[in-house]
Amino acid sequence: GAGVSQSPRYKVAKRGQDVALRCDPISGHVSLFWYQQALGQGPEFLTYFQNEAQLDKSGLPSDRFFAERPEGSVSTLKIQRTQQEDSAVYLCASSLQRDPFQETQYFGPGTRLLVL
């Protein structure tokens, strides 16, 4: 079956531009996570959805970051007025049930964002 997919795989943005990153989780997966991974670092939590409800957005670095999952499947991470420090790989993961700490997370390949 299909895994988690993300698009685009690469995005180059000019400073100040808005970007939208898409995640298609595994069909039927309840939980969806967004992570930010800087070069040489581990993934850093951004936000978490359970179906369409955003239960935790405490990891979003600023109010320029916004995520949604309106129908409980596809999710979009939007970054407004991009800054150079936003350059990173953005990873999406999904898991089947409601407890992300007892379950495997399945990751997409990530979107590499470069802000010039």
Binding site: P43, P100, F101
Partner: protein
């Protein structure tokens, strides 16, 4: 704050067994311990998960002592393709997974 501690890097040779240990000083009673592998330009991939004692699958073994304060990932007879970063994320106080820097394993010919 739950903190994951594992070696930053390890070196090995093809055919050797590699053991990577992770500390879980503040693991919650109901949390499982999960290890992931990440290759460059890919997302992390599940390797193995356990709660206590020993778990084995087709790619690795996981040893968890009774106090669950640590875990050891064992990779038997590594090959060049096992060169990757290995993570043992822990759940922080706010129930977010904390991944840390992982262990960068280099397998040499």
């Amino acid at each position: 704050l739950a903190k994951t501690t594992q070696p930053i890097s390890m070196d090995s040779y093809e055919g050797q067994e590699v053991n990577i240990t992770c500390s879980h000083n503040n693991i919650a009673t109901n949390d499982y311990i999960t290890w992931y592998q990440q290759f460059p330009s890919q997302g992390p991939r599940f390797i193995i998960q356990g709660y206590k004692t020993k778990v084995t699958n087709e790619v690795a073994s996981l040893f968890i002592p009774a106090d669950r304060k640590s875990s050891t990932l064992s990779l038997p007879r590594v090959s060049l393709s096992d060169t990757a970063v290995y993570y043992c994320p822990n759940a922080g106080n706010n129930r977010k997974l904390i991944w840390g820097l992982g262990t960068s394993l280099a397998v040499n010919p």
